[in-house]
Amino acid sequence: MSAFLRSTAAIIWKDIKTEWRTRENLSAMLVFSLLVILIFNFALELDLRARESLAGGVLWAAFIFAGTIGLNRSMAVEKDRGCLDGLLLAPVDRSAIFVGKAVGNLLFMLVVEAIVLPVFSFLYGISVFQPGFLAVVLLGSIGYSAVGTLLAAMVVQTRTRDILLPILLFPLTLPVVISAVKASQGFIQALPLGDVSVWVNILIAYDLIFLAVAIMVFDYILEE
């Protein structure tokens, strides 16, 4: 195994192991996202048409807010006890640190989504278990985790990181959120694939561009 892959795997393994022990991140993300879909479920209870047309937005609101909690916590763990310095002092390509942290964040987001989606499907009476819809969830989560990990690393040195991260993250991820909502909505309303594909293409392009940019600039972002 190359040094890059070994380092990336080690960081992912470490994040999963610490999360398995504490369950702090996942439980907070899960409770938050379940609460969001539950509150909207009651708010939209009487209006079935509005419910169907807003379902995609509700779902992504739950995912991105939960994701932000996870991103903040993921980097805060590295800052505590100076662990981030420990990582930066290791003789590894710093993009391996980014990929390891981003994949860890993505995995936690996917675990939360895997639990939230069946609950959402049950509460809203909408079948979300279709390949196209699940691909949109995956693509949206990849884009959000990639940009979120980059920005979380950028703000982790600041005192106001909890406030600063959403302020920077939400505008920058607007294209991915809008595309994910539109594409999800398209699949929920069973629109023709031609109508949905434009949003899916934007998601793919956003993921590729921001993954490449994040890998290139991560080293500079971490320098004091």
Partner: protein, 233 residues
């Protein structure tokens, strides 16, 4: 091993290091002393490639910084007043994690745990360790990849007398293996007992330097006072 010339570090309008010149030979154990705010930690962070200098030349273990920071990191171990360890991993898991980052064989983990006296506690979470045990494990992490240079930033901070003595013994063992060690400290007497040379940093400059061979207690006080007065001028 370390050559620093005319090093300047500014944080906005504040100048922390002022055209500092500093040399350390291979195998030396240098204690960097000085009052709070003298620039000890900043100097160590620049030497470890964690921080860029504003100007000046820095060469560490034949690597020019900051351009060759990546090459330096494999030759360098660092112990900070923070442990740089994950509290929710066990001692063995922490070393296993860093062994993968440093491409070190896993059998080295048991050797290191034995060296720092934590083998019986290898499966305990680091957050359950006392401050002294965490610092011992931090030294273990720092020497896991057998670095030729060890940088220690106030490693005795927060340790009681007994824990400090255990740490001293480990540091002496580590230094005896031929490593170059640079340690920042506020403890003049302890530093004189450990290091081969004392260097005083005051107001961002090296203001005094003294070998610890045949050192008398009165020399220590004189070294510190003279150095501080020199730094103020």
């Amino acid at each position: 091993m370390i050559t620093v010339k005319k090093l300047v570090k500014r944080f906005g309008p504040i100048t922390v290091l002022r055209e500092l010149d500093f040399d350390v030979n291979s195998g030396e154990f240098v204690a960097l002393l000085g009052p709070n705010g003298a620039g000890k930690t900043t100097l160590l962070r620049i030497l470890s490639s964690l921080m860029r200098p504003t100007s000046g030349t820095v060469q560490v273990a034949s690597c020019n910084l900051p351009s060759q920071g990546a090459s330096l990191r494999a030759k360098l171990g660092i112990v900070s007043h923070q442990p740089l360890l994950y509290g929710d991993l066990t001692a063995a898991e922490n070393l296993e994690f860093f062994s993968k980052l440093y491409s070190v064989k896993t059998k080295r983990i048991a050797e290191i745990l034995d060296l720092v006296g934590l083998y019986p506690r290898r499966d305990d979470l680091v957050r359950t360790f006392s401050r002294g045990m965490q610092q011992r494990l931090a030294i273990g992490r720092a020497i896991l990849h057998d670095p030729s240079l060890l940088l220690l930033d106030e490693p005795h901070t927060g340790l009681d007398q007994a824990a400090g003595e255990i740490l001293d013994r480990i540091l002496q063992d580590v230094a005896l293996e031929g490593r170059t060690v640079v340690m920042t400290s506020h403890d003049l007497v302890r530093s004189a007992g450990l290091a081969s040379r004392l260097v005083l940093l005051s107001k961002g400059k090296i203001s005094n330097s003294l070998s610890t061979v045949d050192l008398e207690p009165a020399d220590l006080i004189d070294f510190y006072k003279t150095g501080l007065e020199g730094g103020r001028s």
